[in-house]
Symmetry: C2
Subunit: 215 residues, 2 copies
């Protein structure tokens, strides 16, 4: 089976809005999905439910059994989640994060690097693809805007890994748009901040999305 | 007459792709437009033509007679063009620049500031609005993509100045989209770099544009 096609084993690090939505939608498409958290017992005791068909486990277990790992934790927790996940060599690592300041008005890194490039340094050998950072998770599985579909922009340096992620973007109903090498996360992270600023700081809510028109 | 409406006196600093296209289109809409360059005689001798109805003059003259000044020079020439233009206090100053590296693959400033915020420091008292930086100039006056129109994103801190610029965005056929305060140029400049990277570095040409979909 070509790497890009078929059911996958996916470990989602983080069970918040982004990770929870991705896990639920991917499980619904027939993938085998685990959500990893620092302490599954504590998460469960607090009423955290991973959703139908999704296993709740540790970051280590979620990553160990997976060929694809999605990093979906708040940026300040990213380095520790990657450390806890263990060796990611050869795995496709989807970086869904944004390096947001606590007031959601700025990025804490950018211009000369990006969260995605930092993730690639923290997880040497992982095949990092930036995706699922540039639109609010409430639009995952709900990406239709009239007769147009919201885009899911992604970038990375490993063509085969990108083909895998492209399918996973389609699985949550977004139009996948390849914007080039991983360093272009330097543009996708500000694009995410623009989305967030409109939604949160400017009070417009999450009902918007960017689309790349082409002639 | 309300400030936002009617024919304006506009000085465009820079007669390249961006400045030339804006000047031509605005003149065609009935505005009184000058293009300012460092040495008009030299520009004319080199065959530079400002287009029908557009006067070619110095940066100082172009700005002096104008209520609106558009900064449309390469970023390394921006500070000098503003200095040459003289006092811009009270004028609407449209920053069309992007702080591009010479290889067009990076921004030289960003994340914690932006070209627009730098321009505002260089031109104290000017009412700076960021606009016309986030789509290739070839799409000015040619902004239709099937039945959709490309967006012209803009931001600034002066509501009346933004209303003026909104009309000028419509004058070149773009859908104006207000994305908030001037600091959000920190996101519009990376968006421009993404547009440029796709067009130039990835060889896709200029036939694309970003649009903000809304529910």
């Amino acid at each position: 089976m070509a790497e890009g096609k078929g059911a996958k084993r996916i470990g989602v690090l983080g069970g918040g809005n982004v990770g929870g939505a991705l896990a639920r939608l991917w499980a619904g498409k027939g993938h085998t999905v685990s959500i990893g958290v620092p302490d599954p017992n504590r998460t469960q005791a607090k009423g955290g439910s991973p959703g139908a068909g999704v296993r709740l486990t540790t970051n280590r277990e979620a990553a160990a059994g997976a060929e694809i790992v999605a990093l979906a934790v708040p940026w300040p927790a990213a380095q520790e989640a990657i450390r806890a996940a263990g060796d990611l060599t050869g795995k496709v690592a989807i970086d869904c994060t944004n390096p947001l300041s606590s007031d959601l008005k700025s990025l804490t890194i950018g211009t000369t690097t990006s969260a995605a490039e930092q993730v690639a340094q923290w997880a040497p050998g992982a095949r990092v693809v930036k995706a699922f950072n540039n639109i609010g998770a409430v639009n995952f599985g709900n990406a239709q805007f009239g007769n147009l579909r919201a885009d899911g922009f992604y970038c990375g340096d490993d063509a085969a890994a990108k083909a895998v992620v492209r399918n996973l973007i389609e699985d949550v109903g977004l139009d996948p748009v390849d914007v080039g090498p991983l360093r272009n996360a330097r543009m996708l992270e500000p694009l995410a901040l623009l989305w967030i600023d409109l939604a949160v700081n400017q009070g417009q809510g999450p009902g918007h999305a960017f689309k790349l028109l082409r002639r």
